[in-house]
């Protein structure tokens, strides 16, 4: 009985982490139609930068949340730089976008190896969230429960941004029809920079939030990127609800699939992804067929 409860609880919380990971990708892809293959590296960079300050490697030891904010802002800034200097020159040129994002991910991965070395970094759970919660017969770590709360907060925040602010309206206009948006006076290129920075920042935030669970190590980028892609495909890109529901669904598939079908553990994510692509290419909630 506990087995099913644990798996269910973990599906939801892992789904929360996946949402944080993929929200940024979905945003960038939905708005700018750029498959941001640097996304895994941004996640990893955020984790490394955050870990540096949580562990106190530069002599400065910070509160976990402060370190998370710092990591998010740093990577968001780097994302904005990359967008202005590189991606801006390639509107619609998907092949060049693939080349530059993959090139940047090579550089980021090797850079992390150079700076932080090959050893994994352990990120301590923030002390206020250490320990376990008891929900009936289920005993579950507080931090993992906190992740789903964080994911919901971020989701609501993004929804408010997109639905209730002028910036959000401009973003949605830019998604639906960039040319008309320009005509109406929306500074679309500035918007793109902001959106890319937001997406990058989200990825970094996910990285450091995931740190206490996943630790930080070389290769983290390659491990997480396929997960982001699976979520975006299943949930549908450009749709916040799609990202959220898709993440939870992938969380369930990951947990129950691996536990119940261990022989198929390698395929447990890619088979459903393939099915969705074949039967409903826009994903569960996507508005347009990619």
């Amino acid at each position: 009985m506990t087995f099913w409860l644990v798996l269910t609880a973990n599906s939801i919380t892992f789904g929360g982490l996946l949402f944080l990971l993929s929200a940024g990708f979905s945003l960038i892809f939905g708005l700018m139609r750029i498959p941001n293959l640097t996304h895994g590296s941004l996640f990893m960079l955020g984790a490394y930068i955050g870990a540096t300050f949580v562990i106190g490697m530069l002599g400065v030891k910070m509160n976990f949340w402060l370190a998370a904010v710092l990591a998010t802002l740093t990577v968001a800034f780097l994302g904005a730089l990359a967008e202005r200097m590189l991606l801006r020159r390639l509107p619609g040129d998907q092949l060049a976008q693939v080349l530059v994002t993959l090139g940047l991910s090579f550089m980021a991965a090797d850079f992390c190896l150079l700076v932080w070395g090959g050893d994994p970094l352990s990120v301590a759970t923030p002390p206020e969230l250490a320990g376990f919660a008891r929900l009936g017969v289920l005993v579950f770590p507080n931090y993992r429960l906190a992740i789903i709360v964080i994911a919901v907060i971020v989701a609501i925040g993004l929804w408010l941004l997109l639905d209730r602010t002028r910036l959000g309206a401009m973003i949605r206009a830019g998604v639906d029809d960039p040319d008309m948006a320009r005509v109406v006076g929306v500074r679309v290129s500035q918007l793109f920079t902001i959106v890319f920075a937001l997406g990058a920042g989200l990825a970094a935030f996910a990285g450091i939030i995931g740190g206490p669970i996943l630790s930080v190590y070389p290769g983290l980028d390659q491990d997480m990127l396929p997960l982001a892609l699976v979520v975006v495909i299943l949930g549908g890109s450009g749709s916040l609800l799609g990202s959220f529901v898709g993440s939870i669904i992938v969380g369930f598939i990951y947990n129950f699939g691996q536990a119940l079908l261990p022989e198929l553990a390698y395929f447990v994510l890619f088979f459903p992804m393939l099915l969705v692509l074949l039967l409903r290419p826009q994903g569960l909630f996507g508005r347009h067929v990619p």
């Binding site: 991965a109 190896l113 090959g118 050893d119 352990s122 301590a124 630790s215 190590y217 947990n255 691996q258």
Partner: protein
């Protein structure tokens, strides 16, 4: 953070060094003017870089200690980055053998890399010393030019199982390890010895190599009195964290990679109490080990683990072999024979010698992860002497059984 080795090619041999060397060692009958070329196949980019960087640190520490001189000959050291792929390993092996004309290769890191080049190095008759644990290369498909001074995948697990059954008095255990050959061979060895000693493996879990969250597997661990894990690389760190986060409190036993001393700097409280069995242990009280650890601390600011020590010992074997042939390495078969007959007593891992397959017979240490002075340490609690790759089993019978795999030994239902 460790200091990086920035220059790839090392050609160091000062006149003073050579002179000092010729005074310290018995003068070779025929002075070898040509330098001895030692090639290293390692991984410096990508996820396997953790072990690869440590490998290079280990061998360079030894070379520095010997002033890049073995048995009176200058040593030219060439390091090659395979990128962690079998094709890359083949290419770099070719580079070392055909372009750089190395006399001996140390490395590569991973079993699949070694398997990609085993036929090639046998063909080229280039002696190779590797940490790669692929069992059959010293068992059912032996390569006469291959020496392994560290351990086969199961060599450390047999004593661990013995300890778990006899000292920890565990009776029912679950094994969990990555879903690949190194995992199968480790857990297979553990299972065989554990069950021979009255224990029972209740279930075997195999998460894929890329598993960010082990919870689906951890949720299946119950109804046992112990867990055996065989993770490698940076996975043990994540596993132990998630193990503790799942509220599991069963004693954990592991092998050489799961409790590696090099991970001590990354582990947190969740790893306390873990037992590991390793051919190397940081607190071994031999002169060489004390020198070795001090040099590692000085040059790289880190404590060495299994990978560093393994390459340091490989260097010792090469040097001892050259001593035996009085510095001659042209006749590769002779040189290989000399290295195979090496028997050392004072190494960072204690006494070693080789069996007729080229695999080491040596001491294995069972350590207990504890905290001392605010630092995590692996405290040696038991030493198993003269452990061979066949443990206490009859060699012929062992070779007749199939190689350890996912389903061998089978689960007793």
């Amino acid at each position: 953070m460790s200091r990086k080795i920035t220059r790839r090619k090392f050609i160091v041999g000062t006149a003073a060094g050579t002179a000092a060397a010729t005074f310290n060692f018995p003068a070779p009958a025929i002075a070898q003017a040509a330098p001895f070329k030692l090639g290293l196949l390692t991984v410096k980019t990508g996820p396997l870089a953790q072990g690869g960087i440590q490998m290079e640190q280990g061998i360079v520490t030894f070379l520095k200690e010997k002033n890049y001189t073995f048995a009176g000959r200058k040593v030219e050291f060439i390091s090659a980055d395979t990128g962690g792929s079998p094709a890359g390993t083949k290419t770099k092996a070719q580079e070392l053998i055909e372009r750089d004309k190395v006399d001996t290769i140390v490395g590569p890191l991973a079993a699949f890399e070694l398997l990609a080049i085993t036929d090639y190095i046998a063909q080229q008759k280039t002696p190779c010393l590797s940490l790669a644990a692929a069992e059959d290369l010293t068992q059912r498909r032996p390569n006469p030019y291959f020496l392994r001074a560290s351990a086969t995948s199961s060599q450390a697990m047999h004593p661990m199982a013995d300890f778990a059954a006899k000292e920890l008095k565990l009776k029912r255990m679950i094994t969990i390890s990555e879903d690949f050959a190194f995992g199968y061979e480790q857990m297979g060895g553990f299972q065989q010895t554990f069950e021979d000693n009255g224990g029972r493996i209740v279930n075997k879990l195999w998460p894929p190599i890329v598993t960010p969250d082990y919870t689906p597997y951890l949720a299946q661990i119950e109804g046992v009195d112990g867990v055996c894990q065989g993770f490698a690389g940076s996975n043990p760190l994540r596993f132990m964290k998630q193990y503790a986060a799942a509220g599991l409190k069963y004693p954990v036993v592991t092998g050489e990679t799961g409790g590696d001393d090099a991970l001590l700097r990354s582990f947190g409280d969740e790893a306390l109490g873990m037992y590991s069995c390793c051919p190397y242990t940081l607190d071994l009280n031999t002169d060489t080990n004390k020198r070795f650890v001090a040099a590692m601390n000085k040059d790289y600011g880190v404590d060495p683990g299994f990978y560093c020590a393994g390459l340091y010992v490989n260097g010792m074997v090469v040097e001892a072999g050259l001593q035996k042939t009085s510095g001659k390495s042209d006749d590769k078969t002779e040189f290989m024979k000399a290295m195979k007959s090496v028997s050392l007593t004072d190494t960072p891992r204690g006494p070693i010698k080789f069996d007729n397959f080229g695999n080491v017979i040596g001491d294995f240490y069972v350590r207990h992860l504890e905290k001392a002075n605010g630092k995590f340490i692996n405290k040696t609690v038991k030493v198993y002497h003269n452990v061979s790759q066949f443990w206490t089993y009859d060699e012929k019978k062992f070779l007749e059984q199939p190689v350890y795999s996912r389903n061998y030994p089978p689960l007793k239902s």
